[in-house]
């Protein structure tokens, strides 16, 4: 699973962090998403799609 984040679309809600904090973080100065790893560990297979699904601006794209 490969992850792409779109910083322009991101509204800084932090919902991705709440769901998968090993994969996503927020920039300190404006809360915009930081992708910590574009190739997460297998045990995060569920958390990452959930994070992508709850993102208010669909800023997270998963590429299988």
């Amino acid at each position: 699973m490969e992850i792409k984040v779109n910083e322009e679309l991101c509204c800084g809600s932090g919902l991705c962090v709440v769901n998968a904090d090993q994969v996503f973080d927020q920039r300190e100065e404006d809360g915009i998403v930081i992708l910590l790893t574009s190739d997460p560990a297998p045990e995060l297979q569920d958390a990452v799609p959930t994070a992508a699904a709850v993102c208010p601006t669909s800023a997270i794209k998963l590429v299988e």
Partner: protein, 402 residues
């Protein structure tokens, strides 16, 4: 005059009573889904009642908030969009302004506030318990807590709460004859925030209002009007909605049998319970509280065509009861999985304060459950008084004993 030959419903469908959702929404969701309605002000609009359509409207860039500014658009609020506020802007201008404030509401920042907010809750509960029963939970806890938190965050003096709470309450009126009062209340709030900003130009502070001044004066990231409006938005949204929901949530937990007991027996489920209450409790008195969107081109929505220039209002409370998304949607179920409610909205305008609201709601409910497990209403549920003719639903008082 109708546009399609169908009868056009007047909207709202009826006055909001307590936390009851008008049964027309379920009918519409099952029927047209997207309904043509006549708004109290500004003419006809589309009403989106289904979860899927609501998310679509809130996220799709062809539905504009900026296009409503300065126009007599169809709406539920007597006074139109002021402009220069977050909610009246579209990306990219919206993103520029919003990102000045998002720093204060990141997951990490809000987590750092936890011990302080817990201390606020405990102190307020100490006083409530000390004053004896019955107590008014709205006056003792539901209002003071979010006001304390947002005052600390923004740097607004807690001692001014009587004034700004009154101005806010007036500014959120729905009745046509409140037009002048609403404008006047907004003016008062604007002058109040401008005064606090002026103080910070003499003596800089490290609170959020101080940060807005730095963003303006040192970095030119926003205009004077945007800065004042942003301060107002943060103050209003930072106390009114959370205070209303604390009252709404505790009322719901205490007035329907079994729910409070579930939380007392298993306090670990409080966060899930808060999410379920966010879904189930209709905070808005009606849809369109966040303002309508205007289509900038023809858009296919819910099997119909919204023409360029037409207005669409969403009813998140209806989307949150959509049985295509939620099993047994009208029941409160703390063990619901995949609770994808839209209580905080969707798209670029998703509630900026949501992490803070969640923190406050979770801490209030968890602390009440832990410290006052025998909490109950001190009057019959039917005797709890409710606000009327306001953008949000809320109790006027919540008499409790324990």
């Amino acid at each position: 005059m109708t546009t399609t030959g169908h009868e056009v419903d007047n909207y709202p469908f009826g006055a909001a009573t307590k936390l009851e959702l008008n049964p027309r929404y379920a009918e519409v969701r099952r029927g047209e889904g997207l309904l043509r309605v006549r708004m109290p002000f500004g003419g006809e609009a589309w009403l989106a009642t289904r979860h899927e359509d609501i998310k679509f409207v809130l996220a799709d860039p062809r539905f504009s908030r900026a296009a409503t500014v300065g126009k007599d658009v169809p709406r539920t609020l007597p006074v139109g969009s002021p402009g220069s506020t977050l909610l009246d802007m579209d990306p990219p201008e919206h993103s520029r302004l919003r990102r000045i404030a998002t720093k204060a509401f990141t997951t990490r920042r809000v987590e750092q506030l936890r011990p302080g907010i817990q201390a606020n809750v405990d102190e307020l509960l100490d006083r409530m318990v000390e004053s004896g029963q019955p107590a008014d939970l709205a006056a003792s806890l539901a209002w003071p807590l979010p006001i304390t938190v947002i005052c600390n965050l923004l740097g607004v003096p807690y001692t001014d709460r009587g004034s700004f709470r009154t101005w806010t309450d007036t500014a959120l009126g729905l009745a046509a004859d409140q037009y002048d009062e609403i404008l006047s209340a907004r003016q008062h709030l604007s002058e109040y925030i401008a005064g606090l900003i002026a103080q910070r130009r003499v003596q800089p502070t490290d609170d959020l209002l101080g940060a807005l001044v730095v963003a303006r004066d040192n970095e030119d990231r926003l205009s004077e009007a945007e800065m004042v409006q942003l301060g107002m938005t943060l103050l209003i949204a930072g106390h009114e909605t959370t205070a209303s929901q604390i009252g709404n949530f505790v009322y719901t937990l205490l007035s329907q049998p079994g729910y409070w007991a579930q939380l007392v027996a298993d306090p670990q489920i409080v966060p899930a319970a808060v999410e379920e209450l966010l879904r189930w409790v209709p905070l808005g008195a009606s849809g369109g509280a966040g303002g309508v969107r205007i289509a900038t081109e023809d858009v296919e929505l819910g099997g119909q065509t919204v023409r360029a220039g037409e207005a669409v209002a969403v009813v998140v409370a209806s989307g949150n009861r959509d049985d295509k998304v939620f099993d047994h949607p009208d029941e409160i179920d703390f063990f619901r999985e995949h609770n994808t409610h839209v209580a905080f909205g969707h798209g670029a305008h998703h509630c900026l304060g949501a992490p803070l609201a969640r923190m406050e709601l979770q801490l209030v409910i968890a602390t009440l459950v832990r410290r006052i497990p025998t909490l109950r209403l001190a009057v019959a549920a039917e005797e709890v008084p409710w606000r009327a003719q306001r953008v949000t639903r809320g109790v006027l008082a919540l008499p409790v004993s324990w």
